[in-house]
Symmetry: C2
Subunit: 696 residues, 2 copies
């Protein structure tokens, strides 16, 4: 019964997205110029996604068949292959819709800004809202329908449902990895390539129409920061709900344990919809006021959640044996608070209104090398506060829920609902996050179509705000990834124990210890692979742009048009090639480690990857964000200003930060969860192999 | 009885060092010019050490009193405070003697090179030999005398001795941390500062006498790369022997378990002495031949060890119940092979004769940002092979020795003697390693005293070789640190269990898991703190050099002398200030974690720090080495050559790499061991506190 409510809420979210999109469609699409450029960007972005989904489809087909074979041989579940497909398709769909709306809103945002700042803000934010609602709507729709099907058609009991559905994350996670890595490589290769040749070598401004990579750069914002982020957060959202639900059942809460996390998500959707109505601003709003108006929406949603979560837990779980209602409510609050705190820390370390980024900008006095050293150190240092928040949230949600070291079941469920709580308001946090790239694109279009300066000023104001909200969003993504990863390790353990395996998870068991070392290493390796992919792709762009500048006469004087297509094409092809290896690592590593070190080794690997992945992702995202904003800080006139030696040094930092914050960092969040889900899904076959090899 | 042999060998090593030093003293100390500059460097280096030891003495006094108080209240051992002192003093002494000999050999190496390449090589290598022998000699002297005292004067049984002496590493480890961090900050601040102002801004060559920071730079080689490395490897050596010995006793091997690791070390000393006689080269030797001549010595020592280790284990342990002689021998071989393999991997990733560094140099085509991205990725990627080697060594030595998951005792002893095996030939590997900075200094002196070009060419040949041997040495240091860290975790567990605490080391125990997250974070934090320290100190040097260029007229024309003292002074003061925080982190973290998360949390933290520290140290050392050599590769004429844009881009990489490879990276190796030893030493008082707080 309650689950039908979830389905209904999912539909409401989707209808709200549709309604918002329709309203957007009625707004002014712009002059011919604006529509032409917006059209080019849209076409290229669609072409990328088409190609991307073709490659991903092959991967999905392979894994689908593999899962079918496993199921046929009794080493797997018949539903998993199909849930794998629906998860992947819905995740891809969320990214696709988000990108469609973003690419049709960029020009509209320019026109909005022409009218007023508030109109511009509303347009970009509405685009983000569509994205946010589509993500949560599709996520809840997919999972609630599966639940209803498994319960009422397949007549499974809660425990079977939990065991089956915890595998379902693999579809969304794989899709998310491809979207993040592929999109991340595209966007950063284009960005780095455009910057290196345009800003640094040819000395033309950002987004200059003469730069052959400028369209690719703008396309990148959409495929990386919109479609990639959409699939990514779809994954986080679905993953956290599914693992919390499974842990609820494993903890002995039966059906209610499964349903409560969904209901918390439902409350979050409603809270988010209400929150979006509060986002508006006056004319001549300062940066601070703009931020405040976005914040208002988020805070109101969070406040609603604080009340709603209490009500849900009270009504659903009171009277259950061995349950401490207020404790569990405390767990959800831990998640909500930790989410806000993570956002605040990220902002502190990456916003140029605070000391760390200002000091980083100052390091440009002694050249680019010190900018790099300081930026890396800043990111590494920032891991301390983030870790404290996350471990406090883990410990708090675990012990408040009533977990003990001897009987951790309910405590782990507490960690699970903390993660769900943190992500519950995703509808609106994602809206404020996805609004950024639209504003960024609008700035590009304004520049390329030669709008009057005040328009560009307004888009810049919106864009710069987008950097802050993106940082906050990253804090959420990382924090929830850490919590979800831990719940997935617990779910992995329960699942494998269900297969009849007995764990020895003592950290001095060499299997566990070696697994640890390998897990930690995996995040280093994964970062290296994704960073180098960006480096290689960017190198190809640089070569191409240099060729065009050399061979196509008249680009600089505006007499000839550069070949934008060629750059888009290089980005597309490169990202398709380069995203294969990271995906293979994520799928092969758990299986290999399992075969060599049994499930104890896998558990160690998962813990190692979670801890080290958390620190690495935090570092990369904060270093990258701080470098970006240190550069912007200098561009705003501080410490030498635009064009100074300080600025040049800061540009180097920003360029290094690009793959950090938009490719490697966010991909690691997905990696640490995908490793867990792969381990869970392939556990039965791994067990068969290790029995055959090691004779256990 | 056998332990007296250890004492005798220690004395032999020291006598051999004395003999080598005497012979060195007889060689030509050089023209007045050379002696003057060498004298300035020596004076400054001594002044630094004096100041350093004064600061360290305060720290030691505080901890000494603390340990005395703990012992007085029954929460500690009466011997530990004194062993803490002797360990610190001997470690400091090793660094001091090594530095004395290095600063008196740099000028002699110039004179040697004037005669012949072989003479230059022999001089620099002899200086390294003194250092190597002093380190192993003092290490074995200190520990064997304590053993004899505890056994024959205090009449302890082997188990008491093991429990007491495993605490003794704290003195050497603390000293090593100060030496590495303090020396590392000094040397890199001077290096970065001199490069930024001299090479990059003023456009004068490296080691130019007009650069006010040039003397500080040369002093830095001695205090960082010689004294720092000496104390560091003293720590590794003593730490690995002590923890292996303790594990031998814990595994039930009684006195023989304690003595065998010492005997392996003894064999290594003899093997090293023999090996040194094989290091010589012909005239006009190519780079390859030079390397081969150094390698010859190491390989011969290793071969001797392969035979000797077998003999020792056979004669000492055969007939013991439950012991697999050949298995334990296999464990030692695992260590020896892993050491060589680690060196080879490091060389592959950092030498410009291989693809990775050449490709990195090529990345300079697209500017400094891509050099940084590629270099970071190279270092991260290199962790994969290193991890594989180390986990193979751990698994191999554990299972070969007969360890099982249920009864790991003897297996852990296997890991312990693998670490001892790896470090057994330290006498000669350290000699080839410590020879580098002497050659580097000789190059500086040759430049500053205007020697004929062929002299500088020869010192350059020796110096460049030094980079390779330094890389190999770092591979050893990191590999042995990982193995020793694991044995120390095991020793920690045994010690604390001896206090009556019952562990629950399941990785899903939140205490362990949270400890693990904190341990991983600590290496990020520690890296940040040490890197920023270098950045700050380098900034001060830059400001000072710029001031001198501006205010002291005639520096550039050679009419006025720069104020070298001022730069040395800034480096000294900065490094003293900046080394406090890292040391405090290392001491406070385990105690704090212990109080909050009990000993389970400490164990998690130690495992996390070991795994993440290993990857971080590997990455930093390999990224740094590759950047350095990519720059040298370009300077040798490849890809644009000296002064080209490529070269400028590569210099940025090299500068970022400086604190990576010579400050943060090596310090992490010490950190992960110091954390363990602090945990062991302070376990009794932590137990008292957690009993009071948590009532367990």
């Amino acid at each position: 019964m309650e689950m039908i409510l979830v389905t209904v809420t999912a539909v409401i979210a989707l209808l709200f997205a549709l309604f918002t999109a329709k309203k957007l469609a009625k707004s002014d699409a712009g002059t011919e110029d604006v529509r032409r450029i917006s059209g080019i960007i849209r076409k290229a972005a669609n072409a990328f996604l088409k190609r991307q989904y073709t490659v991903v489809a092959i991967f999905f087909a392979v894994i689908f068949v593999l899962l079918l074979i496993l199921a046929a041989f009794g080493a797997g579940n018949w539903f998993t292959p199909f849930a794998f497909l629906t998860g992947g398709i819905f995740s891809g769909l969320a990214g696709f819709i988000g990108m469609r709306i973003a690419t049709s809103s960029n020009g509209r945002t320019v026109m909005g800004c022409k009218q007023s700042l508030n109109k511009g803000l509303r347009t970009a934010f509405s685009s983000g809202t569509v994205m946010g609602m589509v993500v949560v709507g599709l996520g809840l729709l997919d999972t609630s329908l599966w639940y209803l099907g498994l319960k009422h058609i397949a007549h499974m009991d809660p425990s079977q449902i939990a065991n089956t559905m915890v595998c379902f994350g693999i579809g969304a996670s794989s899709m998310a990895l491809f979207a993040r890595v592929g999109g991340g490589i595209f966007t950063k290769a284009a960005d780095v390539g455009a910057d290196l040749c345009g800003k640094v070598e040819a000395g033309i401004p950002e987004d200059d129409i003469r730069n052959p990579a400028v369209i690719a750069d703008n396309v990148g914002d959409n495929v990386g920061d919109v479609a990639g982020m959409g699939a990514d957060l779809y994954e986080s959202y679905v993953g956290s709900v599914l693992s919390a639900s499974a842990l609820g059942v494993f903890a002995g809460l039966e059906e209610m344990g499964f349903i409560v996390p969904f209901l918390i998500a439902v409350a979050g959707v409603i809270a988010s919809i209400i929150g979006t109505f509060f986002v508006r601003t006056g004319e001549n709003a300062t940066q601070k006021q703009l931020l405040a108006s976005l914040r208002k929406g988020t805070y109101i949603s969070t406040l609603i959640m604080v009340v709603a979560a209490g009500a849900i837990i009270y009504f659903m779980l009171s009277g259950k044996e061995g349950i401490n209602i207020w404790g569990l409510y405390g767990s959800v609050l831990c998640g909500l608070i930790a989410g806000v705190a993570m956002g605040a820390v990220t902002e502190y370390f990456t916003s140029d209104t605070y000391k760390p980024t200002q000091k980083l900008a100052k390091a440009s006095d002694t050249g680019s090398a010190t900018v790099i050293i300081d930026g890396l150190a800043l990111g590494m240092r920032s891991t301390m506060l983030s870790i404290i928040i996350v471990v406090a949230a883990i410990a708090g949600s675990f012990f408040l829920a009533g977990g003990t070291i001897k009987d951790p079941g309910i405590g782990l469920f507490g960690v699970g609902i903390a993660a769900v709580g943190m992500l519950s308001t995703l509808g609106i946090t994602l809206a404020t996050d996805a609004y950024g790239p639209v504003a960024d694109n609008a700035g590009g279009i304004a520049e390329m179509t030669g709008q009057e300066p005040y328009v560009r000023e307004r888009t810049d104001a919106l864009d710069s705000l987008g950097n802050t909200t993106a940082a906050t969003g990253k804090g959420f993504a990382i924090g929830s990834a850490a919590l979800t990863a831990i719940t997935l390790i617990a779910a992995f353990k329960s699942t494998v124990e269900g297969l009849g395996y007995t764990f020895n998870l003592n950290i001095l068991n060499p299997q566990v210890l070696i697994g640890f070392f390998i897990g930690v290493m995996l995040t280093f390796l994964f970062s290296a692979v994704t960073m180098q992919a960006v480096g290689r792709a960017a190198g190809r762009i640089v070569t191409e742009v240099r060729r065009q500048f050399r061979e196509i006469k008249g680009i600089m004087t505006g007499e000839a048009q550069p070949d934008y297509e060629a750059c888009v094409d290089i980005c597309t092809r490169s990202s398709q090639q380069e995203m294969i290896l990271p995906a293979v690592i994520a799928v092969v590593a758990p299986i290999l480690v399992g075969i060599l070190l049994e499930f104890n080794g896998i558990a160690g690997m998962l813990a190692g990857a979670a801890a080290s992945g958390f620190c690495m992702a935090t570092m990369m995202s904060n270093s990258g964000g701080a470098w970006d904003n240190a550069k912007k800080y200098i561009e705003s006139g501080a410490i030498g200003g635009k064009g100074s030696d300080n600025h040049k040094a800061a540009v180097v930092g920003d360029t290094v930060g690009d793959p950090f914050k938009d490719t490697s960092g966010p991909s690691i969040n997905i990696l640490i969860k995908l490793l867990s889900v792969v381990s869970i899904v392939f556990a039965p076959i791994i067990l068969v192999i290790i029995k055959a090899i090691w004779g256990i």
